[in-house]
Symmetry: C2
Subunit: 385 residues, 2 copies
């Protein structure tokens, strides 16, 4: 397998983009990535998106986007793994370049969620429709069950959940692409309207329109066309699945798909959690970030809440988590999320993250997740000199 | 890149499967393929499906199927390219095995279409929703435009379109998995109800529930675990895209994505159209088979209709096409179609196709297509001894 680098990134502003349809949103990000990479063509492309069919009545968006990007007749395909669609698409683009099948591959993710459809009903199609959604279990409810159990087993405090949101908003306030660029307080989280006890509105990631894109190429080619910035290589790629229904799990306080994807990625990369300088993780709800940082091996099981309280996951802390603002502050356009994580890590390793820069960052990790943890991907990126 | 073989296939009966939901339908095919291959595990899986979100209100079916198949925590992802979803998934599975990332990969396709949803509206999401579907253009109408133009430019006769259907039903009558296992006549096609002039009901592929699956592995491994049957290698894999809207094409009588995908696959395989012993092609409408057999290079442009009339595409003819019965007779459960094509070709090359067997078949081709030709894949398989 060939070594693979990220050679370009594109991430336009996210939010409620009422004046743009799904094709405009995607193409803007894709063109930005192509221009950033400085390439004059791409060989193949992946389009990650969870549910353009339900939100925009448009399937077949691989070909649609290749068409609107002016890149036909290259191969283009849509990849879907619910909220992990972006991470899964990165994995497939990585494999295609590593295999030698293609040299320059665009991986983009997009979701157009503000179309008038019922968000909760569409998002529930990522759960087990027959055994969860039909019976009224929504995603806030599923994660609320995990939160309640984590509090029960480990004494995790309600305020510690809120602190995840506060930290991520502090980071997002410094990210010009974020949907909500403002700081919030623990009190604001605790006083926000309840959604599914113990989770309040400000524990939940928002509904967002947006896209992000990256360009992958073999490291050898990257060295030839690299701009005045270091080469960032994907040194580990792991993906795993778990039962789609939460009720089928042995535990509500750990996510086996995250642990397995991390195990694969760490092994491929030849590094461990102690080597990671920063991470983007899937904080669809505040409790998710706490559980995931434990399952990635950054903290002991049950200690994720304390770690946030002690500031270990802040910029400047032991292991900065979600310097982008996370899903909570920067937004969560489902199919785009996993790709934007790679953009954030790549920029951090290039050293161009401005106010959010993690000094001396050399190895970063991105963890993306679908449903209540039925799918997860973990990618590890390294600045190579 | 490593050489890749098809080591197992699964294809249960297709039809209106009112008593089975999407997960039952997929798992049945997947288990059949695993058993046929004789493997005790799989390393990764792809699930091709066009629109489980609109038909069954269920996205995230990669993880769902891994779960119901008892194969978690392996990576599993859904692939979508409208009616070419199956072919695209085969391409990605091929790349994953070729790359060395995984050894044993399951590629399955599934569509559950009989759920009470409006078929025409769901299928129209494979067209350009904003510039075609919203304005009333349906798929029968798009292909009717192509048929009318082909008749105008080349003198293709209405009866020749009907003969495609008659031939495919003759083949499907001998395929125990086919939805409609009965022969029909030219008169029956001509007298069937009009759908979009000049296409009648019996020019159109039906609405079908079904799944198909294959197991891919490196040729080296295939040699070790092969049963008492020849090794079938995928020697060429091509994919291409074109404008999603028919109105943006220069011609209505050729399909550039088919030509490009074929060019790539022929080049990789080191063979030409004259070397192909049989082909499965995407006859979603009778006119499609005629245009595709021209664009694959089997016949001169404009001569596809005559070729059918002369019996060149029958079993026993110059180049048997759609020995399975094609989409027309065996059914077209969208996401499964491209995978079932590979099953049919593999079985033909193994020499186990019974009444439908093409004697001495050594090289077969499968062409799958999405929308009105915005996506196409071409795979070439060879029996190696």
């Amino acid at each position: 397998m060939r070594d693979v680098a990220v050679i370009g990134v594109g991430w336009p502003k996210w939010g409620e983009l009422w004046k743009k349809d799904i094709r405009n949103i995607f193409v803007e990000a894709a063109l930005m990535a192509i221009e950033d990479a400085g390439v004059d063509h791409i060989d193949s492309m992946y389009v990650a998106s969870m549910s353009p069919g339900l939100w925009s009545k448009q399937e077949h968006i691989g070909a649609l986007m290749a068409d609107y990007l002016g890149q036909t007749p290259i191969p283009a395909v849509r990849v879907e793994s619910a909220c992990a669609s972006g991470g899964m698409a990165v994995r497939l683009g990585f494999i295609e370049v590593a295999s030698g099948m293609s040299d320059i591959v665009l991986v983009g993710g997009v979701e157009k969620m503000w179309t008038g459809e019922d968000f909760t009903a569409v998002l529930a199609t990522a759960a087990d429709q027959e055994y969860e959604a039909f019976h009224g279990l929504t995603f806030p409810a599923l994660y609320a069950l995990m939160a309640r159990r984590h509090m029960h087993e480990f004494g995790t405090k309600r305020e510690q959940l809120a602190m995840v949101s506060v930290k991520n908003h502090a980071n997002g306030a410094r990210n010009p692409r974020a949907q909500y660029q403002r700081e919030i307080t623990v009190e604001a989280v605790l006083n926000s309207p309840p959604v599914a006890d113990p989770l309040n509105l400000l524990d939940c990631s928002p509904v967002t329109d947006g896209a992000a894109a990256i360009i992958l190429a073999p490291v050898d080619l990257a060295r030839k066309i690299a701009k005045d910035r270091p080469i960032v290589q994907i040194i580990g790629s792991g993906a795993a699945t778990d039962s789609i229904a939460l009720a089928d799990r042995e535990s509500y306080v750990e996510l086996p798909a995250v642990k397995k994807a991390a195990e694969i990625a760490y092994k491929m990369a030849g590094v461990g959690p102690e080597d990671i300088d920063l991470a983007e993780v899937h904080d669809c709800f505040t409790i998710a970030e706490i559980i995931v940082t434990e399952d990635l091996g950054f903290f002991e099981k049950g200690k994720g809440g304390e770690a946030v309280e002690q500031g270990l996951t802040k910029i400047g802390g032991k292991i900065p988590v979600n310097t982008s603002g996370g899903l909570k502050s920067k937004g969560h356009p489902v199919g785009a999320t996993g790709v934007a994580q790679i953009v954030e890590i790549t920029e951090q390793l290039w050293g161009v993250s401005g106010e959010r820069q993690v000094e001396g960052a050399k190895i970063g990790l991105a963890q993306n997740m679908g449903g209540s943890g039925a799918s997860s991907t973990v990618h590890i990126l390294k600045r190579i000199d």
